[in-house]
Amino acid sequence: MRATIIAIILCLSLLHAAAAGDAQFRMPEGNAYEGTPFLVTIEVTDASDVKPPVAPEIPGATVRVVERGRQSMTELRGGRVRNSTSVTYAVEITPERVGSSQIPALTVLVDGKELRSKPQRVEVLKSEAGNLLSAEVIGLPAEGYVGQPLDLILRISVRAFKDPSYGQLNESQMWQLVDLQGSEWGEFQQQVAELRQRNAAPRAQQEVRNGATYFNYELTRRTWPPKTGAPDIGTVRIRMTYPLALREVQNLFLDRQLTISESRPLSVTAKMSGITILPLPELDRPASFSGAVGAFAIAVTAKPTTVAVGEPVTLTLAITDIRGGANLETLQPPALAADVQLAKEFRIPNEPLSGIVSGNTKRFTVTVRPLRAGTAAIPPIEYSAFDPQNRAYAVSRSQPIPITVTPANEMDLSKIVTGGASTTTDASTPGTQLTEVQGGLVANRPVTDALLADERLHTGPIELAGLVLPPVGAAVALAFRVHRARHARDGGLARRSRARRTADARLRAATDATGLAGAITGFVEDMTGRAAGTLTRGDLERVLATAGVDHELRNRIAEFLGHCDRARYAGAATPAELAAEAQRAIDSLDAARLRATNGGTR
């Protein structure tokens, strides 16, 4: 017995042990390379509750924890439902410096139990990518001015791998070994994303250096540096898997393919070489300069050209980039307010203008208003820009536009010329477009009886009556309808209903014994549905018996009718006792609730 108990306990313990979660730590083998991440994989299995590992602090390395996969399972074991989860975590460690580095014990909390890995020392080697992989960012032109278009070119140079058995890999195959996702691309992120989307390789040039073939991949990004000094390109770090040996394998379709049998990771940070951004010179800077860099021409059109003082004239200013390459999206309009000639003759809005880019031209629209009659022309509007090719400011002027300005008739200039900037809003002239003034409250509602109403949902007597009475009324109507229908179906029913009232009336009207007897027999006829005047004294006993009247009452009725006969033949007046007896008899018959007999109609 004792041995059995011990065996059961042992089995239970084993089962419990089997049910507890476990974790396996896969540490990296071999050496690591500077700037190239390596992984420590943690596989947690059969756990009910898992807390992810915390990224440890490792001097000279960056660490992050990524959950790689999770699988949940529900099983029925020994009649009990048990949920378990398996999770795989990857601790990604990127060494930033060469030397020996200690990976501390990694801890994962599984089912409330701390599971630890063993600390491990890793030798971080310098990624000797110098002759295999290099990257640099060059500028075209190498020296430029603020706002001048600058092409940043990321040049990645990869030494073509040549296998003694299978030959040299081409530029497309070598590009596929670049880790596009794991690399950092800085300002070139968009270009790489487009390549990934198209599953394409960048433009490459082949170059032979010291007897080795190199593929030079180039990614170009145009920028317009906003400040002096070296342009900011962010961190550009290229990572790739460089092959050391190849082998040939067959796939499912028996096609022979080359795969990498041995490789090493490479990582290199792109260096920026010799790009200088100069400030725009202060010397000879025109007053109308608004920051444009390049070669531009300005053309102005006006509409209408015959107006009264204060009326709007729409100017369209077209700024054309002659050489191309300028960033028209950020191109500023001419500084009209600084144009003395224009400001002398026209009221110019202060609001900033927004333009529309079309091809190499950006168009701005502005509404000006002549200040005085007799103005003959819209003066030339100048647009100045810094020309980096000539390293000097250049001014372009539009042609003067003849215009006729007549005196205003009844216009209040002070009211009209406060108007807006561009094409859309004109506060002075009525039109279909109105600009809503923000803020302010809408006025009060007028004082009416509606202001004094109580619109809350009440449950007072009126509401209660309104809710209850209509159904009650409908129920009464239903009862009425049922009642009427019954009467319609059963012709004797109405007669039975009226029988008592009719009998009482007959009693009151009776002046002799015959009348009293008639009241009794009439009541029985009404109640039993027999035709009026058809019930004889002899039939009465049988009818009453059939109608369920008891023997005693039947005798009383028979006796009463006998008295009536005798009184009728005696010719005497009706005694009061006889009338009282008739009333009692009818009361008793009414109380007996006569049933309709077969001889009646229902």
Partner: protein, 282 residues
């Protein structure tokens, strides 16, 4: 038939008596005068705004007090709350203004003037919280019936309710009995009228009832004081729930009431206790 007519007459007499009792309980004349005075004070405030700011503010406050008195006298409807909100807004009491506008929303949802003024008031609230959760389905459905003002819906609901039962009763007691007894089916016209009225009563009356239920099941409150500290419990001895204090106009839901204290939930789901006097309950 006589007894049925007598019954109907008795019902009419009882109903009339109840109505007469209710009517006499409302002092309409007094509140009409107050409404006129409140409106006059408001208009005076508008006139003085550019010339005498202090007097204008006093006029707006007086207007707000008068509207409040009308409200306290038992009147509660959209236009009244709208005017009260305007008076509070002009007098700088943004919290009470929002409270009044939100109350007005119950009676005239979808009113563009009200939406404009309410959004203007809300724009002046310094603390804003992202709304989380919410009863999306109810809100979406309610948006449809909110196209019709509550008073109209209530009136239509009553008319449909009375019409439904009246039509049903008329059908039941109609003289044409050719088709037989009580169980006879109504004709197409009768059936259409009865079903239409029943649907109308359900839709219009039901929407008002649902509105009322939502209002009572999710009571709301608007902060009316400046520098309100949300606490972790219903007493000044409790620690503040948040470092920052809240300003007037912050809207919340009341989730618990204890003597003198309210536990409110902010639109982003966080909650805390405030003194009852610091909020206007809707």
């Amino acid at each position: 038939m006589n007894w049925f007519i007598k019954l109907c007459m008795a019902v009419c007499v009882v109903t009339s008596a109840v109505c007469a009792t209710e009517a006499s309980a409302t002092d309409v004349d007094r509140t009409t005068g107050a409404a006129q005075r409140a409106q006059t004070a408001y208009e005076r405030g508008i006139q003085l705004r550019r010339t005498d700011a202090a007097a204008s503010l006093d006029a707006f406050r007086e207007s707000a007090q008068l509207w409040e008195r009308i409200h306290a006298a038992g009147a509660e409807n959209g236009p009244l709350e709208f005017n009260l909100g305007n008076a509070h807004m002009e007098s700088g009491d943004i919290g009470r203004a929002i409270a009044a506008y939100v109350r007005a929303e119950r009676f005239m949802p979808g009113d563009s003037d009200l939406e404009h003024n309410l959004s203007r008031a809300r724009a002046g609230v310094k603390s804003s919280f992202e709304r989380t959760g919410g009863t999306l389905l109810v809100d979406s459905v309610a948006r449809w019936w909110h196209l019709v003002p509550r008073s109209v819906r209530m009136l239509l609901g009553w008319l449909c309710w009375l019409g439904f039962w009246g039509t049903l009763a008329a059908w039941l007691i109609r003289p044409n009995m050719r088709r037989g007894g009580a169980g006879a089916a109504p004709g197409a016209a009768w059936r259409a009228a009865i079903i239409t009225l029943l649907c109308g009563a359900t839709l219009f009356g039901g929407s008002v009832i649902v509105d009322e239920y939502l209002h009572t099941s999710r009571p709301r409150a608007v902060l009316v004081e400046n520098g309100v500290t949300l606490r972790k419990g219903n007493g000044d001895g409790f620690e503040p729930a948040f470092v920052e204090t809240l300003g007037p106009g912050v809207e919340s839901t009341v989730i618990e009431v204890r003597p003198g204290w309210l536990r409110i939930e902010l639109p982003d789901g966080r909650s805390g206790w405030i003194r009852e006097s610091q909020a206007a309950q809707l």
